[in-house]
């Protein structure tokens, strides 16, 4: 491995650079630095193929360009009239076939390894929503943890009203935290349309298909933060549902699990608490910005006809119960999803309060978590 691979990588890299003529150091020319053996395997396979391809390419086109320069009429070259040569034709059918079989062999081994999801330490379900990811720790240490992971890049940066941060579009509010060196099995599914869960440094890409689970796995070799994106067009905000995997040491992971469990317990207790209007409004604004703004827009005007506005709408200014109901349960056959399973009682209370008192809506209503808990039954 080691030395040999590095030389191969460099050779392939050089070949690529020569081919492109764009050997500028700051411009990414190759795969992201690998964090798993599988990702390294892909790089090795790709390097191998590039070397073979570049050699064949140069061979074929050296012949063609020699011919272009030497066998031209302007140099007085007379055309030969041959038009067949069985031996040559058999040779250039059989030799490529052998080369291709040679290429298929290591590829087969890599594929078999990539698809072997057995003996996993931790199983996590990644659920694609339009347009965010939800994670459930199903099995192993951390079992029972579940949360949503939303893009954290503020809209001002996207619209150009603020300077773009270093991880522009690749930052989320809650990382998927996993321990280093453990085999993590990822089940993917979706609630609405097909998404695809992809983290390049881990060499994991698996479509998330509504109604079905698929599985894949990775074992991160190094601690670090690895960023990816949804890879299957899933509608309007397909570009804005990143994936961030944070690989930490076993101890840190245990700490993280403990903290998560505490947080979840706290959220479950919220039903008993009462909050002030200001508390709910400022929390609601954050929940709104994270979950609702994509469709209903920051100014509450929506994008009719597909995404109706909330400013002055019947739901947001009418009876509280109907408003809570639609947020909890969604609206059938529309893009309005059920947030009951995604947000805590406190978050829903806050966002409903916010929607009923933001923009031109002046209902003065304050919704407390207890009401949400009651509405859930």
């Amino acid at each position: 491995m080691g030395m040999h691979n590095k030389t191969k990588s460099r050779l392939a890299g050089l070949a690529l650079m020569a081919w492109s003529g764009m050997a500028l150091a700051a411009w990414e020319l190759n795969f992201q630095a690998p964090a798993t053996k599988a990702a390294q395997t892909v790089i090795d396979l790709h390097d191998l193929m590039m070397i073979i391809i570049v050699i064949i390419f140069i061979g074929v086109f050296a012949v063609m360009f020699y011919s272009v320069f030497a066998h031209r009429k302007s140099k007085g070259h007379q055309a030969a009239q041959f038009h067949d040569n069985t031996l040559v034709e058999i040779a250039w059918t059989v030799i490529p076939l052998l080369i291709l079989i040679g290429m298929a062999w290591p590829a087969t081994k890599a594929v078999l390894n990539m698809r072997d999801t057995s003996q996993a330490d931790i199983t996590i379900k990644a659920t694609g929503y339009q347009w965010k990811w939800g994670y459930d720790y199903l099995k192993g240490e951390g079992e029972g943890i579940r949360f949503m992971s939303l893009m954290a890049t503020p809209p001002e940066q996207i619209r150009g009203a603020a300077a773009k941060g270093g991880n522009y579009l690749l930052e989320v509010d809650r990382h998927l935290v996993v321990p280093v060196g453990k085999k993590i099995r990822v089940l993917t599914t979706a609630t609405d349309v097909i998404h695809s869960w992809w983290v390049p440094a881990l060499a994991v890409k698996q479509d998330a298909i509504p109604g079905y689970v698929r599985d894949t796995w990775f074992r991160a070799e190094k601690e670090g933060i690895y960023r990816g994106q949804c890879a299957e067009l899933c509608g309007k905000d397909h570009a804005f549902m990143p994936i961030v995997v944070e690989v930490v040491s076993a101890e840190k992971y245990t700490q993280w699990v403990g903290a998560q469990k505490q947080q979840m317990a706290a959220a479950a207790d919220e039903g008993a608490k009462t909050f002030s209007r200001d508390e709910l409004m400022s929390r609601g604004e954050k929940v709104y910005a994270a979950n609702c703004v994509a469709c209903h827009q920051a100014n509450g005007k929506g994008l009719p006809p597909t995404f109706p506005g909330l400013d002055g709408s019947k739901i947001a200014t009418g009876p509280k119960a109907a408003h809570i109901d639609i947020v909890l349960h969604g609206k059938a056959n529309t893009a309005m999803a059920a947030y009951g399973g995604q947000l805590s009682d406190g978050d829903i209370a806050a966002v409903v309060t916010y929607e009923r008192n933001a923009w031109g809506n002046k209902t003065g209503d304050v919704v407390q978590p207890a009401e949400i808990k009651a509405a859930r039954k």
Partner: protein, 536 residues
């Protein structure tokens, strides 16, 4: 190209045909293969412009990170329409246009087998083109699913989706009728003595393409009909809720979609197999193996479809099978490339514009073929699926492959169509501008894909900014270069040096035995082929 058919000296036959209507009615009612070919070509060029403007909107938005010009939903509509219009509106009709114009002349037939149906198959196209383009302006806009129309996303779309489905139906009907016509013409109307194995290569490629089209367009029609009934009539072919499976659509779509790639590529191979021998002044190398290669490419194309779906989670045995089958396609494709290079070897070459485009095709199509080989490797494809690497790959195949070959065809046959030589200097400018700007636009996209940029996104992370900027500059250069192409063609129609019946020294084939411009009616009496003439 209209000037071609002015009733000039070229009109050799003074019989009843001279009463055909004038003005617009002539074009609506015409059953003449040359008129219809001309209409196909202009339609395809118009669609090429429309789809090109959409491509430039996409590239403008991608010039820098952030959302500048368009909303994400409109961006998605642009990528969908760009794909559908370029594939079904521009490239396919262009090659049907060449077939209409040249096939009857190449095989010594007076016209296409079903002249009336030929007229219908053309006139189905404009309504479909309008339907697609107009879907942008209905509430909710056009389909924003990408040209692959995957459900359940396509189930969510508005009325624009239904319009796209109907457009695909109409375009499919048109292609099926066109293909039936072409296949029948080739099978039944060849001049006496022209056996199948003496047929020009362009005829061979179209014969096989015709069969491919007849076999797969109905499958696509079925797939989009299922989406339509899922959307409106409560079926659930593709919804898990009703016992269907969204992945099933992908299987049906790519069962059409992969042969479709060769439907586009094979006629392009045919054109190049005429241009290279003509300008190398040497017969095509390995005619028989070329024919076998085309036929095996067509056959293999039916059994590789799921290589577009390596990450949907199919069983590992499926992944391996589709990888092996896909790798196999490289063999006949390689044979073709080797044959073309061998045709040039020890020829006596000149480099007029058609030859330049054919060489550009050969060079760039080979790059596209090689990146296809990389993608066929399932392990690597897991990283590259749905990234800009794929975008780069299929633009090397579609643009540098099919489009460059279409340019070669236009320059090669323009003297026959118009009776004038085009402006060689401007033609060469068009070639060099196109090939340089094409590579600036698309080569960097390989790096974007490798580095992890997904396709079909209107905004991207900062590390992708540099290459995207380069790519956009190239794309605008490429788009603007095509205006030069329009100018060169118009200039040749309006006048220029008179073209001889056979303007290219090394050209062979029956089409060069009739005067330039080709008379309105040719080969009303079949020509007699002598043993010496052989195939093109």
């Amino acid at each position: 190209m209209e000037a071609t058919h002015a009733h000039g000296a070229g009109h050799a036959h003074g019989d009843g045909h001279s009463h055909h209507p004038k003005g617009i009615m002539r074009w609506i009612t015409t059953t003449n293969h040359k008129d219809i070919g001309t209409m196909y070509l202009w339609f395809s060029f118009a669609m090429f412009m429309v789809g090109g403007v959409m491509a430039l909107i996409i590239r403008a938005e991608l010039f820098q990170p952030g959302l500048q010009y368009v909303q994400p939903e409109f961006f998605n509509q642009m990528i969908t329409l760009h794909g559908l219009i370029m594939v079904f509106g521009a490239i396919m009709p262009a090659f049907v246009g060449f077939a209409n114009w040249m096939l009857p002349m190449m095989i010594g037939a007076p016209d296409m087998a079903f002249a009336r149906m030929n007229n219908w198959s053309f006139w189905l196209l404009p309504p479909a083109g309008i339907l697609l383009t107009a879907s942008m302006f209905v509430p909710g806009g056009a389909a924003g699913t990408g040209w692959t129309l995957y459900p359940p996303l396509s189930i969510q779309m508005g009325i624009g989706m239904d319009m796209a489905i109907f457009a695909v139906h109409i375009l499919g009907m048109s292609s099926i009728m066109g293909s039936i016509n072409i296949v029948t013409t080739i099978l039944n109307l060849r001049a006496p003595g022209m056996t199948l194995m003496r047929m020009p290569m362009f005829c061979w490629t179209w014969l096989i393409t015709g069969f491919l089209l007849i076999a797969v367009m109905p499958v696509l029609a079925g797939a989009v009909t299922m989406i339509l009934t899922d959307r409106h009539f409560g079926t659930s072919f593709f919804s898990a809720a009703g016992g269907g499976d969204p992945v099933l659509f992908q299987h049906i779509f790519w069962f059409f979609g992969h042969p479709e790639v060769y439907i586009i590529a094979l006629p392009a191979f045919g054109v190049v197999s005429h241009v290279i021998p003509a300008f190398a002044r040497k017969p095509i190398f390995g005619y028989t193996s070329m024919v076998y290669a085309i036929a095996s490419i067509a056959l293999i194309s039916f059994i590789v479809w799921a290589h577009h779906m390596y990450v949907v989670g199919m069983p590992v045995a499926g992944q391996l099978y589709f990888m092996y089958a896909t790798i196999l396609i490289a063999v006949p494709t390689g044979v073709k490339v080797f044959n073309w290079v061998a045709t040039m070897w020890r020829g006596s070459m000149t480099f007029e514009t058609p030859m330049l485009f054919a060489l550009g095709f050969l060079f760039l199509f080979t790059i596209g073929g090689f990146t296809g080989l990389v993608l066929s490797n399932t392990a690597i494809d897991v990283q590259l699926q749905d990234t800009y690497y794929v975008v780069a790959h299929f633009h090397y195949v579609m643009v540098a492959g099919a489009l460059f070959s279409a340019f070669a065809a236009v320059y090669y046959w323009l003297p026959k169509w118009t009776g004038h030589m085009y402006d060689e200097t401007l033609g060469k400018w068009h070639f060099w501008l196109s090939i340089v700007s094409f590579n600036i636009a698309f080569f960097p996209q390989h790096f974007l894909g490798l580095a992890g940029m997904p396709r079909r996104i209107p905004d991207y992370a900062l590390q992708f900014a540099d290459f995207n900027q380069v790519s956009t500059i190239g794309a605008f250069g490429f788009g603007l270069s095509q205006l030069l192409f329009l100018y060169v063609v118009l200039k040749a129609i309006r006048g220029g040096e008179k073209a001889a019946a056979k303007p290219w020294e090394g050209a062979t084939g029956l089409e060069w035995t009739v005067p330039s411009p080709a008379p309105y009616h040719t080969f009303e009496e079949p020509p007699v082929l002598t043993e010496a003439k052989g195939h093109a």
